[in-house]
Subunit: 162 residues, 2 copies
Amino acid sequence: MTDQSPPEQPPVNLPRLGEIGLTNFAPYLMNRIMGRYNASLRDEMAGLGLTTPKMRALAVLSVIEGPLIRELSVFSVVEQSTLSRALDQLATEGLIRRETDAADSRATRVLITEAGRTAFETLWPHMSEAHSRMFRGIPADERRAFVGTLQKMLANIRKHEI
Amino acid sequence: MTDQSPPEQPPVNLPRLGEIGLTNFAPYLMNRIMGRYNASLRDEMAGLGLTTPKMRALAVLSVIEGPLIRELSVFSVVEQSTLSRALDQLATEGLIRRETDAADSRATRVLITEAGRTAFETLWPHMSEAHSRMFRGIPADERRAFVGTLQKMLANIRKHEI
DNA sequence: CAGTGATATTTGCAAACGCATTTAATTCTG
DNA sequence: CAGAATTAAATGCGTTTGCAAATATCACTG
């Protein structure tokens, strides 16, 4: 696998990570912030018998009605086989139910149950609080700009996604 | 542990996630973007025999000289026991070496080797490219503002950290 | 419309993970 | 300064993860 046609970039010297500095490198900062955010929710989730994949599925399902599992996998950022097993558990606990798609019997749609909504609503205040903590002291217009940039970034990376 | 003095917020009705909308909720967007970013690096890393924790450790070590394992755990956003085992592998492969701290013989400092630097430098162009892709079409001043906000956010959540 | 290739989901399995505990060393306290 | 409490790192162990393969269904092609 020899790289036989380098796109347009001439072999310029890339700035090194050390020159940029860790704390100026957006992916590093984002990983670090999200690591903390996710960790801060884990305790709360554990108390509700939820894991990160289960919680993410519930969160998406609280907003999107009856997606296919493959779609849910993208939206919830959970690998599909992991999601499949998370859904097994959620179904056993009565928080979601699976329903074969009417038009394509290979496909499965996922529906949140009332119990599922309730579970997510129990968790939501904690997510909301973690969110507020993260943005503490950051003015509304800066928050808006930040989210706007995130949306552009998502558009950039989802080119070949859903 | 009863919350005995709610800060300033009266028990207002929290806006629901559905009202905010997934794609306006920063943590969701950040998780989704970083999920893609990390996944896009995984193939490259696999080819080099690296996993996410190993890569993160190397990345930090390429910038920070000889941190304690506990510090490296925070900087690299890898759980300490996971990091301990990742370092075992990196040491076996000759990419880092551990050195007992001179002043405290409980503690261990981690040093990157030349081979480690080389390995990271092989990966760096791909990280850099994933970074560029993420920010494609976003002007420099918007990027700067974005990173500025991230830095504030990190400061908010690291209150009780390093 | 049989056969080949794609697509949706699940499952087998080995590796990775993270919590809790252990081991080792340091610091604090009376 | 002995003993208790704390801190750093490693390890035991059950669970989770994610890749690859299997299963089931659908779409396309000659």
